[in-house]
Symmetry: C2
Subunit: 137 residues, 2 copies
DNA sequence: ATTAACTCTACTAATTATATAGAATTAATT
DNA sequence: AATTAATTCTATATAATTAGTAGAGTTAAT
């Protein structure tokens, strides 16, 4: 499941992607437009900025805007930024790999092999869903 | 990601599925054989029993054994039993549906529509992975 | 009666999720 | 230069969940 943070991030990105080219949205606009608690949203936007998905302009008349194209921002990206690994166990993860503490023979672990399959399939689907593709639906 | 509970459940089922037909495994056997904390495993086996995946024999010489065929127990089943919804948000879930509190127009929610797609794809893959198929790998 | 297994309920400790608060910084405008 | 309105940063709070432990009770074979 997605955390609220990840869900709010997606909603905020969808909001930004639907503004006119060059428009700069205030946090308050996004908060009201997408129904996200403002102070929580502030943190989320900062994380999206550190992830280079959005950028911001400071001071009066400042705000946020998409840095990447809406078709380049995938569900996989946002999941990884806010909720971490896409794989079902860390031992099967590409970007968040960690060995299981209870596992003695990872290379022969049949559970892990199954989860590698799932990870590849899931990743394929999640990479294919972008902010742009969501708007079209 | 899977919880430890779900991972341990899968490992316990894999252990049981690899015993000889008719063999009854003590909790201690499974705990040692699959490297799972015994007291924690007790709870997990009870949940698996309530889910009708395993059954047990009480008293001395008692223990656990598979109730369903190893090819009928899917990853989707175990995920749902221990970790709940497979969908990325409750509003996109078949078995654990709940509306989003921050959503006003679910039927037009583009995020939800995208997540329905993912859910269907993920489910297809997860239903296809069974205890039996894992052993073969 | 004893032993050795499952069963059940409650509890605990650590972590994570979901925010909120408030001061600091930045930049446009008056 | 002062004011205003925005982002930025750090800290804190609180609630829920996770991961596991403890211990008493029940069952059935010997």
């Amino acid at each position: 499941m997605l955390s609220h943070k990840a869900k709010y991030a997606l909603k905020a990105l969808l909001y930004l992607a639907q503004q006119e080219e060059g428009f700069i949205a205030k946090t308050m606009d996004i908060s009201q437009g997408a129904n996200i608690p403002k102070k929580f949203l502030e943190q989320i936007l900062l994380e999206l900025k550190r992830g280079h998905f959005v950028s911001s302009k400071q001071g009066k008349l400042g705000g946020y805007y998409l840095l990447k194209s809406k078709n380049e921002i995938t569900l996989a990206d946002i999941h990884r930024l806010f909720d971490g690994a896409i794989a079902l166990l860390p031992c099967a993860s590409l970007n968040f790999y960690e060995p299981c503490s209870d596992c003695t023979t990872e290379s022969e672990c049949s559970l892990r092999l199954g989860l590698l399959t799932i990870r590849d399939e899931t990743l394929k689907v999640m990479k294919n869903i972008t902010i742009g593709s969501l708007i079209k639906k």
